[in-house]
């Protein structure tokens, strides 16, 4: 099985995020591998391990695919240190400020050219939180979409099955390769990179490509930000100490506000 995992470098979720000229300021914040993509990397490794592992030169491989500036190599190395075999990073100044549609077009081209059997993604990035890129890649490639998986079973003979869990319920879904899978948080417990893994990752290949090499042209964003303003901070209101009547005070407050 040739498995690809799409990952994104995002601002640390603890960091304060700001918009500059209509796009997220990514320069001045700490950047990390998107939390939710770690589950995707882990699941890809587990799928390979369930069928003998992803030794270099063996029948199964896990390739990390990402789009981002040079510094995104850090997030890619993290995924490699978990145990992925190699990586492709698409870096081009023309991609700055890309929307999800443009991102999915670039990723879809790289995926199509790599002839992967399975592509695994996280359900969303912690910065934009759109949850749309896996569905967009699937629509662009005409591949089966198996998203929001809480369980994935892949048969190297060419079939993948998932349990999809959303607010709408639980679905059992299957498809033939090639397919796009997205995994929800808690599908697994992502491994911590071992010292050996970290050292090995330094020697692994990151194939960095510009748009010309990928063979697509940059597409401008199809939605325009008119303005972005920080919301005024909420001020603290009334605070009472419970001396046995805290519950009553709470009910009185709710009644005053006509919430009950």
């Amino acid at each position: 099985m040739k498995i690809a995992v799409c990952v994104k470098q995002v601002p640390d979720s603890w960091a304060e995020k700001k918009m500059v000229n209509g796009v997220l300021d990514r320069e001045n914040v700490d950047a990390v591998l998107n939390d939710l993509d770690e589950y995707a990397v882990e699941e890809a490794l587990r799928i390979a391990e369930a069928h003998g592992g992803n030794e270099d030169g063996g029948p199964h491989s896990v390739t990390v695919i990402s789009m981002g500036p040079d510094r995104a190599t850090e997030a890619v190395r993290k995924a490699l240190s978990m145990g992925a075999n190699d990586a492709i990073l698409i870096t081009d100044s023309a991609l700055a400020g890309s929307d999800a549609l443009a991102t999915s077009a670039v990723l879809a081209k790289v995926i199509a050219d790599g002839a992967y059997d399975l592509v695994i993604c996280g359900t969303e990035s912690t910065d934009a939180r759109m949850s749309v890129v896996p569905a967009m890649i699937s629509a662009r490639l005409g591949w089966a979409q198996l998203t929001f998986a809480s369980k994935v079973t892949a048969d190297p003979a060419g079939k993948v099955s998932i349990t999809r869990v959303t607010e709408a319920g639980v679905d059992e879904i299957s498809a033939d390769f090639p397919a796009i899978v997205s995994v929800v948080e808690k599908i697994n417990e992502p491994r911590y990179p071992s010292f050996k893994g970290i050292m090995a990752a330094k020697k692994k290949t990151i194939d960095q490509r510009d748009l010309a090499t990928v063979g697509v042209s940059a597409q401008s964003a199809w939605s325009q930000v008119n303005d972005a303003t920080p919301r005024p901070a909420r001020a603290a209101g009334i605070k009472v100490s419970d001396e046995g009547n805290g519950g009553e005070a709470l009910v009185n407050f709710l009644a005053e506000k006509k919430l009950i």
């Binding site: 869990v165 059992e172 008119n226 009334i238 605070k239 519950g247």
Partner: protein, 317 residues
């Protein structure tokens, strides 16, 4: 006058109040056509429940592919409809299914997309609260139909009765959209409480519950509220992960949010700080969540909540 399509939102066989919210937002832009995607022979029954909000027309598309091929089949049918009828905008509920349908429709119709809008203006400008609600963004689609997903519970809906004209359309679904096969579907287990993201009131518990959610649930039930949980509580296995409120869980924006025994890490705030009114119960007076609380009680939730539950019962009986 421009035309706007909305994808009618259903829970089981009934239209949700989100459908009326989408219609209310859509009617600001143009005449609203609500699209009902239904299994063969089920369209009329589903359509009958779409009876609130400013809806001018109902368009029923029936196909068993919607159930057996999921998101991709629904998106294909909708995309072909958009190509044929060229609406100015397409509004869809912002949940997992809705966002994925919107994503595919945007790709298939060469349209821009905006997700998680909390408001939509007459010119199609969408308002989003990003970065955990700390920043307000206004943006507009600049190519194709404006595909916008709207967060449930954000728009004050016009619930007036509607008697829309009913039309039927044929589903056009490509072979590619039928590659994923849904072999079984189970509706969510409903505990009689409202859906977290749609609830007017949410009562959440955190580390301070020490694993005992009974007082949180009892208080929630006295208010007819949904129950949420912090990541600490779901990670500890005290409450199902599907109830997690926060950056990596659900984002809620109810009229009232009551946080019990939750200190308020930035990740939790990201999921609830756009709530209209915030109440905090915590025995630690230094809990950061007090900083954004409209009303805070410094006290043990095991003492405060049962008394509050009694107080509510006394008032409502």
């Amino acid at each position: 006058m421009s035309s706007v399509f909305i994808l009618a939102d259903f829970s089981g066989e009934k239209s949700t109040k989100t459908t009326a919210e989408l219609a209310t937002a859509g009617a600001r832009i143009g005449a609203v056509t609500a699209v009902v995607l239904a299994g063969t022979g089920k369209g009329a029954a589903l359509a009958a429940s779409v009876n609130q909000g400013p809806i001018a027309q109902l368009l029923i598309i029936e196909s068993d592919d919607f159930a057996s091929h999921g998101v991709a089949a629904s998106a294909d049918a909708l995309a072909n409809l958009v190509k044929e009828k060229s609406p100015t905008a397409l509004l869809i509920a912002s949940h997992a299914f809705g966002k994925e349908v919107a994503a595919r429709v945007a790709v298939l119709t060469d349209s821009g997309i905006i997700t998680d809008a909390v408001d939509v203006a007459a010119d199609g400008t969408a308002t989003q609260l990003v970065f955990g609600g700390s920043t307000t963004v206004h943006s507009k689609v600049s190519h194709g139909a404006s595909v916008i997903t709207v967060r449930p519970n954000s728009i004050e809906a016009d619930f007036s009765a509607s008697t829309p004209a009913i039309e039927n359309a044929t589903a056009t679904i490509s072979a590619n959209a039928k590659k994923a096969i849904v072999s079984s579907s189970q509706p969510p287990v409903k505990g009689g409480r409202p859906e977290l993201t749609e609830a007017n009131i949410v009562v959440s518990g955190g580390r301070g519950t020490d694993g005992n959610f009974a007082p949180v649930e009892a208080f929630a039930d006295s208010l007819g509220a949904a129950v949420g949980a912090s990541r600490a509580a779901t990670d500890a296995g005290w409450y199902p992960h599907s109830h997690q409120v926060g950056q990596t869980g659900k984002t809620v924006s109810p009229q009232l949010y009551v946080a019990c025994g939750i200190s308020g890490a930035i990740q939790h705030r990201a999921g609830m700080q756009t709530s209209k009114t915030i109440v905090v119960v915590n025995k630690d007076p230094e809990a950061p969540l007090f900083d954004i609380a409209d009303f805070g009680v410094v006290g043990d939730l095991f003492n405060v909540l049962p008394k509050a539950t009694e107080g509510i019962a006394a008032r409502t009986n």
